[in-house]
């Protein structure tokens, strides 16, 4: 019986069945993946920010939650508010679940819609400020973590 099940599953996998990409992943592919890459690694050497194991850190510092929606890649993408919200929440869950703060709330469409009206002009400057905040938070965490 078990063998039959396994055979059925294997036969199904080998058959001419072509899976459809999840719509939210499709949106990521079409609008983000070209630069941020399939696994969210980015290419920091060429100024493509890393998303993997990193994106969620922004949610722990002031202005970080706003930043993720106000960057050009989000605010100026072809996606409408609903689909952009879905992609951002999907990216956080997929690439950076371990960095999410304990009180994390997914973005709402109304929030994304409001934030993207105000795109960042000095993206690099804003990013540097947030990165130093993230670094400080991490150092603080390490210090408190080291104490018995």
């Amino acid at each position: 019986m078990h063998l039959r099940c396994i055979f059925a599953i294997v036969a199904f996998m080998l058959s001419g069945w072509v899976y459809a990409t999840e719509p939210v992943q499709f949106d990521y592919m079409m609008n983000c993946q070209g630069c941020h890459l399939p696994n969210g690694e980015g290419f920091p050497a060429r100024n493509v920010p890393k998303v993997k194991d990193h994106m969620g850190k922004f949610l722990s510092v002031d202005d970080g939650r706003e930043f993720l929606i106000r960057v050009p890649g989000s605010a100026q993408s072809d996606l409408n508010d609903e689909r952009l919200t879905a992609v951002i929440n999907w990216m956080l869950a997929t690439f950076s679940a371990n960095e999410l703060p304990p009180n994390f709330q997914p973005y709402t469409v109304a929030e994304v819609s409001r934030l993207r009206q105000n795109p960042l002009i000095d993206v690099k400057g804003a990013r540097e400020i947030l990165m130093s905040r993230i670094e400080k938070t991490e150092q603080r965490k390490q210090r408190t973590g080291d104490q018995p």
């Binding site: 058959s15 001419g16 069945w17 072509v18 899976y19 459809a20 990409t21 719509p23 992943q25 499709f26 592919m29 079409m30 609008n31 993946q33 070209g34 630069c35 890459l37 399939p38 290419f43 060429r46 493509v48 993408s77 072809d78």
Partner: protein, 174 residues
């Protein structure tokens, strides 16, 4: 004096060589070397990164080295299949640019829209064979994420030199 020394050295080394090697030894070794050079590229070498990942079992039709092949619907460049690579792998001596632009093409066999990644192969000058420009859905350069007029090799490890373009299927639209 000098000639004497040089003569001796030459004579000694020549006699030594003659004593230690057979008459056709060099020819034999050189022959092996030539054969090795010829065979080495045929070895199943693992070329990491030269092959992009591909979904399995896509119904296919047409010639991948023809500009009218369905996957090339938004391409602008040389087809790697004509340059020593294939539609999904870069020719030897080039590296794939991971950073790229992505679009969709409709497969005439099943009528579905497939997500295509137009990775460039970089590190050598332009291939020059099978130039293909179709531009369906191509956007002006001020919408760079969907523009095929950019040299995407500028985002690769090999930097700017552009050689040819791939058309890799990475997903299927619902």
């Amino acid at each position: 004096m000098l000639h004497n020394w040089l003569d001796k050295f030459t004579e000694n080394s020549t006699r030594n060589r003659a004593r230690l090697s057979s008459r056709r030894g060099f020819l034999q070794k050189f022959g092996f070397f030539l054969l090795g050079v010829g065979v080495y590229p045929l070895m199943p070498v693992f070329r990491n990164g030269a092959f992009a990942e591909e979904a399995i079992n896509i119904p296919e039709s047409g010639d991948p080295n023809d500009c009218n092949y369905w996957r090339h619907c938004a391409i602008d460049g040389f087809l790697c299949g004509c340059c020593g690579g294939s539609v999904t792998s870069c020719p030897p001596g080039t590296v794939v640019s991971d950073i790229t632009w992505i679009g969709t093409c409709r497969n005439p066999e099943d009528g579905r829209d497939y997500v295509i990644s137009y990775n460039d192969c970089c590190g050598k000058s332009g291939c020059g064979s099978c130039g293909c420009q179709r531009d369906e859905g191509d956007t002006p350069i001020y919408r760079p994420q969907n523009s095929n007029n950019l040299n995407w090799c500028s985002g690769s490890q090999a930097d700017v030199p552009y050689h040819c373009s791939l058309s890799v299927v990475i997903g299927v639209k619902e």
